[in-house]
Amino acid sequence: MYGRKVKLRFFFVLSIFVILVLSIFLVLKSLEENVVYFKSPSEIKNSPEFQKNKLRVGGMVKKNSILINSDEINFIVTDFKNEINVIYTGVVPNLFEEGKGVVAEGYLKDRNFFIASKILAKHDENYMPPEVKAAMEGK
């Protein structure tokens, strides 16, 4: 038979291994659940299946599209090929303007309407989020 020490060490290594596998599984699982994908208006129009998960939509705010009343803000996000209507209640960053880049986070109502719960702020007037840049270039 093996000595007590060897057995102990075996269990120690085994338990560390089990814990490691479990935590990797846990991390990956919750990563899968909590990841937010970024889409351009064209990708949403052209995608075969309807996205139910939380999404980010990015592009340009279309000229003369911002409508504001006391409850909500409506605007159109465009990548110059397709566009999508965004309905938003919440805080607007100061750099949110027509003709500038925008990233909105929320859920799709249908293929033409997006209900946003957050508009992401930018800190630099010359800065364009990389995804928006890519979306504009039609990647």
């Binding site: 020490k5 991390v27 994908y37 504001i68 006391s70 803000i73 805080v91 960053p93 303007e97 007037e125």
Partner: protein, 621 residues
Amino acid sequence: MASLIGFNALIFGACSSLVIGFFSVINFRNPKKLDKKIIPLTFLQFIFVFVSFLGLIISFIASDFSNETVFNNSHTTKPLFYKISGTWGNHEGSLLLWLLVLTLFIFLFLLKSREQKLEYRLLTLLFQQIIIIGFFVFLLKTSSPFNYIYPIPDEGLGLNPILQDPALAIHPPVLYLGYVGTSIIFSSALSAMSLNYISKEWAKHIKVWVFTSWIFLTLGILLGSIWAYYELGWGGFWFWDPVENVSLMPWFALTTLIHCILVLEKRLLLKSWVIILSITTFTLSMSGTFLVRSGILNSVHTFANDPERGLFILIFLFSLIFLSLFIFFFFHNRETVYQNSFSLLSKETSILINNWFMMYFLSVVLVGTLYPIFLDVISSEKISVGPPFYHKLIVPFLIPFLLAMTIGPKLKWIKSGLSNKINLIIFFIISLSLSIFIVVNLEIKFLLNSILIAFIFYLFFISLSDLLVKRLNNLAQNMAHLGFSLFLLSIIFNSIFSNEVITNLKVGDTFQSEKFKIHFENLEQKKEKNFESFIGKFIIENTTGDTEIMMPELRIYNQPNIATSEAFIKTNIFTDKFMTMNLVQNKEYLNIRYQIKPFMLWIWLSILMIVSGGLISLFKK
């Protein structure tokens, strides 16, 4: 003129690095040369970099727009304070600041380590000079702060207005003191390992650097967080934004290192942990700079930047990691006494357990921060990882973490039983019933939260009673642990009791919700030196009829032409009232956010309390 002097001083500084390297190698076994020649040389190097830094500051103060950095980041109408802070508010200047602190720290290290072995001091100096040379080359090659432009522009582009803020003016220097402090720990650990010099004395001597870096890093993160709270106008203090995570990761590693170094000092255990953590901490600090500056991170904090710089730091970073791993595998003597020296119930075991938890938290943050980059590279799919990911993976594991944190300090070194069992059990019952009372009264839905609250209270009461009973004995540790429990309590109650209203209003409008009535009284316009200010006056009435006047501000800066919101915050001991006002495309409606945030002040105070624990530990004999 100042730029020219600055640039030349920088080149002299780089040359002196080579001279120092040369002298330390040829005088490796000659004790007299170190104190007589090499220390003055490192001082000279520091002076060169200091002159260079001063040159840049003077160029900023004088608004010398022939200097590209000044042109890009300054403007004549900017107040003097922000002209100076603008020096490190940009990429080039902030790297020069890194370098300045690097050279200052190695000089101080040599002065403060006179009782240590000569070879160890010289080798540490050599490792540090490798880092310093790397930064010199990086600075001169890809991001010189002294580039000349011709024809000389009349006016600069101005500093991003959200950076024109007192907290953010001192945030980078404080954070960098923490980051760069870890470089000394890194060099020293590598050199101690190569010379097989890791001992209780070494632990005692490097502990000062570990604590100092940790204090600055914590304060730096705190300042950034306070700034984000009132300047970004989201009303939160932590967003799990990649740029924030990047500063949190070295903090996890450094906090773990603080505990390990104590074990090493007392018991000569956990040598490998100390080495690995020293390497990890510095690597994470460097990667922090790399990720923030290279533009790889897709973050709300990202400013425009340049890929060549990222590549350079990446190569530099990998060579340093490679070097340290090489030394680790070839020079490090494993602990041979490992097996029989850990008893299940001992201080070192509980520290070891929490080491693993800390590493787990660190990995979670690392995965959440890097996974989007990874996925973008392999599949060009753009994603982001939100706060729920972190909360879900970190919060449940805080429970065993808190338990080890509570019980651990009650245990003795080597082997111990639990003394005062009755006390521990009584306190646990008190915490549990208190948490059940809170949970039942407030209808918190989650079982997990109530267990968590119970364990936080447990840590809180035990640390508090130790603080009161034992007074000076273990004061530092009790302060820090009490601060940590207070910190978690404030966060939890803050998130449970927060309340907010978001609406769009015109002047004269009134908004009615269940809890508040908000009336937009008027909008006042004022002209300042470099911005135009609009101050709104809002009258808020709550259900009990108390009224409150809030006056958030909107600023439109002239150069660059950017609007920023200045939150109006009424702070008292128990709750913050927070209001921001945002502009939407010059429409007549303004976007209003009113929040009630309980215990905000306690979040900041508890962090200061944790820091004070570190300070006490640093200054006690």
